[in-house]
Every structure is written in structure tokens, then in C-alpha cells.
Amino acid sequence: MSEDRNDNDRPLSVAERFAELARLTPARIALGRSGASLPTRELLRFGLAHAQARDAVHEPFRPAEIAAEISALGLTSMMVESAARSREDYLRRPDLGRSLSPESRALLEAARGDYDLAVIIADGLSSTAIHQNAIPLVAALLPLLQRQGLELAPIAIAAQARVALGDEIGQHLGARMVLMLIGERPGLSSPDSLGAYLTFAPRPGLTDAARNCISNIRPGGLAFQPAAVKLAWLIEQALRRGLTGVELKDESERAIEGRMTEQGDGTLGLAKPRPSKPRLSN
């Protein structure tokens, strides 16, 4: 009946052949059923993934830990916060997450300088993503930035932050460009996904059209080294051409893909997918 055989040379059952499909996608397929319902095993597997994604949103952000790790890399940092004073505030009022607290504004003004780039590490919607993935990414990126001879601002560690908070941080620091590393909306299969947003001439009022974004940076998604290479290339191009956003995006992707192909590395992640469902603002 079937050409497919298992180790014992017994023809595969239909269930086994459906189970084989599951190897082709990370989607939850070939789960089996108990009557019309999900088998207990899968019910619990889903429940655990949801619990981890929920925890990623509400896990307390630990900026002091990140500051210590930055210091170990030989860099300086400073801690800032948005105008959102609690997680609930943050989730209900995205506008508060996009503007600085008065104290943080003063702190940044005091550190004002002539910087090429300000790197910001922000909790966003997943502290888990930041605690697991921000420092390894910075460590991979740092030598590439040093090779470009860039003047770096102290790294800002931002709590209760949305992407656009970087615009105000960059403006107060006097940076030509900001790179915001921020925890993305956690997916059930990816509670630890980090997003990197690059914005030239940061100032309040910019929209996402003015940014370049690399999404899904995590060990199970876009790995640190290729992400760093892609970011370094974008930073170099953005500073040279004096822009980020839609115009830069297309060319950079082509060039990077070409370069990665030369290195024989076809594993580059895609740029952030544009959902055709109504968009969520970060």
C-alpha cells in the first residue's frame, strides 16, 4: 500500500505518515485527537508555551544586571525609563512608553556629546528576550562597529520602553543615529525574540517608515553573528547616505543577501514580516 517503511520494514500507518509531515514545519500539525479534542499531551504543551510567553511579558526587567554585563564588555551605560510607571500603565498607554520620564531626560542631557551611534537596550514586550539575547548580540556587533571607528554614546538601558522612545533618547544624547534592541511581542513558539530598530537623525514624531528593522533575533531564529553582520552593514550605509527607512531597506537586503551567499550562508532571516492583519504598534 505504501512505499514508506519504518525501521522494522513495517508499512507506516497513516498516523505515522501524517506525523512525518510535522518535520516540515514548526507549526503545530499532526497533533492527533481525543474525539474532537486535543490530546492531553498537546493541551499541556500548548499551556506551557503560553505560560512562558506570558511570563516573558511580565518578567521584571533587571537593568542592573545588564549594566554589569555591559561593563564586562568594556563599555559604559546609563539607566533610563519611560513615562510609564508600571507594566499595566505600559500595556494600556503606548504613548507613555514612547516618552521619557523627566529625570531620565535630565540624565541624558547631562551625557550629551558628539556621537555617531547610540545603542539602546530596552525591555519592550519581552524582558526575557533582552536578558537572554541582548548582550550576546552587542558582543557580536561591537568589534564590527569598532572596525568602522564609530564614536559610541554610553549604552542606554531603558525600562517600560516602546520603539519610539529611542527617538527621544537619541535626540537628548546628540547621536546621529540610534540602534534600539528591544524585546518583541512574544510568540507562543518564540518568547525570546529580539528586534533591532535603526533610526537616523532620531527625533520625536518619526514613524516606522523612517526605520530599518531586523526581527526575530534569537538562537532559534536569526542567529547573533549574521544579525550583527547585517546590522553593521546597515549602520555603515545609513551613516554614509544619511538616512534610514524604506529607501535604505531594499538595497541593504539585496546587498547583504549577496554577501551572505558569497559566504555560503543561506540562513539569513527575513526582515520583519509585514502582517496583512491590522498592525500592532510597538
Binding site: 505504501s2 512505499e3 514508506d4 497513516v14 498516523a15 505518515r17 501524517f18 509531515l21 510535522a22 516540515l24 514545519t25 514548526p26 507549526a27 503545530r28 500539525i29 499532526a30 497533533l31 485527537r33 474525539g35 474532537a36 479534542s37 486535543l38 498537546e42 500548548f46 508555551a49 503560553h50 510567553a53 506570558r54 516573558a56 511579558v57 500595556l91 494600556r92 498607554r93 503606548p94 504613548d95 514586550l125 518583541e184 511581542r185 512574544p186 510568540g187 507562543l188 513558539s189 518564540s190 518568547p191 525574540s193 526575530n216 532571516g269 527575513l270 514580516p273 509585514r274 502582517p275 496583512s276 492583519k277 491590522p278 498592525r279 500592532l280 504598534s281
Partner: protein, 462 residues
Amino acid sequence: MSYRVAVGRQSYVFADLKELMAKATPLRSGDRLAGLAAGSMEEMMAARIALADLPLKTFLHEALVPYETDEVTRLIIDSHDATAFAAIASLTVGGFRDWLCSEAATPEVLARLAPGITPEMAAAVSKLMRNQDLILVARKCRVVTRFRNTLGLPGTMAVRLQPNHPTDDAAGILASTIDGLSYGCGDAVIGINPASDSQGRIGDLLRLLDEVIARFEIPTQGCILTHVTSSIALIEQGAPVDLVFQSVAGTQAANASFGVTLALLQEGLEAGRSQKRGTVGDNLMYFETGQGAALSANAHHGVDQQTVEARAYAVCRAYQPLLVNTVVGFIGPEYLYDGKQIIRAGLEDHFCGKLMGVPMGCDICYTNHAEADQDDMDTLLTLLGTAGVNFIMGVPGADDIMLNYQSTSFHDQLYIREVLGLKRAPEFEAWLQRMDIIDKAGRLTLGQGGQALLAAMPGRAA
């Protein structure tokens, strides 16, 4: 004009119709974010009491979004069917609710009335209604559409099979599609949200779906949920486009943020119809909407998010869609904070759409930063199934690995069929029986008849 109502010794004044509508709305985070929500529970009830006394015809001469500057308002007013409206022209909003709940409002009467109902009328009456009213009345509104099968018949519910993949991998998408078909999903559409914007890749996905549908002679339609301009271009290149997709919202400015105008949607409809790919009908537009979309584009004109959402259905209605899907919990907790708000919004959207004659389905869904979980989705699914929703989503294991949110699963649709006895589109149900995937009662067969579908996988002879 302003509206005044006294509750005990307290007197409440609402400056205009849109303030009255906003403050009468059941609480949701998006209206708070916009600064439009009632300041107290009593103020909310005062607004509802005033709204109940408002003559329905007020909405025909008092626009919430200016006629002169908004083409959606012009569409609503210019296409209003006064003859159909005549049956309810003398009613107030409160009287309209009483009439809708009464035996006089039969499915036939409601179907004739639909072109006479503006979105603002539907939104206004929904604000006075409890969840049970929204279910009771929506259940009486049947909207039947056709392309390669018949959707929306009483006693049926269809499923969009949603086999998304984070890198649009063809084998991965095919695997999810076959798994979903083997659970009897896919009569509404097999619809992929592409990760890529590349025309070449989208063309490949269209051909992939076309081949699966042709190979097994499935009475359904495929769709890649890409921008309408992209679908038009692909049609010009000869790609097999069944349905033309677009996200839409309830104001001209919000639609501009999606890169669409009404003229462009008309162009999309005409391009789709030029293909003549439908077999039993030519409803071929697939629209998605969701409360909060206009506010997130700062294009809400001070109108509450539920009313703006109902206006989006007027946009949809103009293009005789096959499917209209409110993606209710996707946008996030700043618009709908928790399970209670998502459930209420899903019922409101479904009711308003159906009352206006739109083939409403619902992506019963939430994100991980909302205060909601799968139990809330079970509740909304059970309520919408009871209300006669045209279709829901079928996402593998309810976990969309591309869009990072949770919806309803292949198993969830089996559950609701089991509990409520809902059938699939008749042509699709017959196909599933021919394939030995379901039995005469509509239950999945024990013999796993879906094995024939495995032949679609490359290198796997059946």
C-alpha cells in the same frame, strides 16, 4: 447639536452625536486611550438613555465624520437605500432594539432591511444591547455568498485554513494545508499571510494553492493575503488569483494608511472578476478589519473605535465580498485589554456586519500581552457559533508561527461542530465525504481517509 439627560439630581451634557456614541460604548481600553470613554459608569448609562431616545434618521443628516472630507461617509450616505429604510424610519434607537428582538424581525425582513441600515445605526443600537441580544439578532441575519462553494447557509459554519509559515516555505505550508484539510478545514478559503512582499514568491504561493485545489478538485478558493495592488499586478502577470484581499478601515484617512482608496478597491474587484475563476458565484473580495485600526493610524476623527469599525463594513459591503473577517484581538491590549473586552467586541462586530448584510467571520484571537487566554477564545467561539458566524480561522494548534498570535485551531472547529451540530459549506462537505475524510454525519472518519491527500507531498506516493 448637544444632548442633555438628567439622572437623579445629576445632569449630563454630551456636546455632539459622536461624544454621545462614544460615551454610550461599553468600556474598552482603546476609547480610553483616545480620551473618548465615559468618565463614570453613570455617565455611560446616561449616554445610553439619551441614545435610546434618538430617532434613527438623525444618522442620515448628522455625519460623525464630515461628508465633505471623507469618502467613506459619502459612500454611506450616497448609497443609502431609503426604500429599505422606510420600514424602520419612524423608530428611535431604543425602539429599533425592541423591534430587532421581536418576532416581527424575521430573517427575510432583516435581509430586505440591510441596505437601509447605515453603520452608525448598527453601532448605535449595538451599544444598547447585551451580549445575548447581539447573539439573538445576529442569528436571524443570514448572509449567503458564493465563489466555488456556498457560504453562510443556516446551520453551517466555514473555516479559513491558515497554513502560515515564517519563511513562506512551500513544503511547510503544504504540510499544514494537508493536515488542515484532513480535519475538514478550508471551505471558507485556504488563505496564507505571506512573510515576503516579493511578487515572485507570492506568485509561487498562488500556484501552490491552485495546484492543490485542482489536484484534489476541492470546491474551495485560495488566497494570498497581500496588498490589493499586488493582487492586481499578479493578475496582470497571469497568476491564478481566486480572491482579492485587502485590510480596510472605517475612514478615508485610515484607508490611506493602508494604501487604499475606494477607487482602488473597485479596481481590485474588477481585476478579480476579469479572471472568471468562480464556479457557483462571483463574490471574490476578502476583507479584514479590526477595532482600533483607525485610532492606531490616528485617523479616527474623535469617533469611538466600535463605530469606526462598523463603518469599515460599509466599505466592505460596496464590493460584494465573499468573506469579511474581524481580526478581533490581534491589535493588542491598548485597544481591547482583556478577554471580556475581546469577547464583547467580537460579538458587536459580528452583529453590526450581519445586520448590514456583510458575510461576517471572526478571527477569534489574542496576543500574549493581552489579559486573555484560550479559555476566553473558547467562550467567544461558543457564542459566535451560536450567533451563526459565517466562518472562523483554522490555525494549526491555534498557534500562528508567522504572525505570533493565537487564534482558533483545527480541533476548535471540530469542537463547535460537535456541540452545535454545524455543517460545512455543502459542496465542501460532499467533497470531504467523497474523500472519505468525514462520514455521513459530518464527523471525521476513524479510517483517516485523509491519506489520499498525502500524495500532494513531493516524493510521497499515496
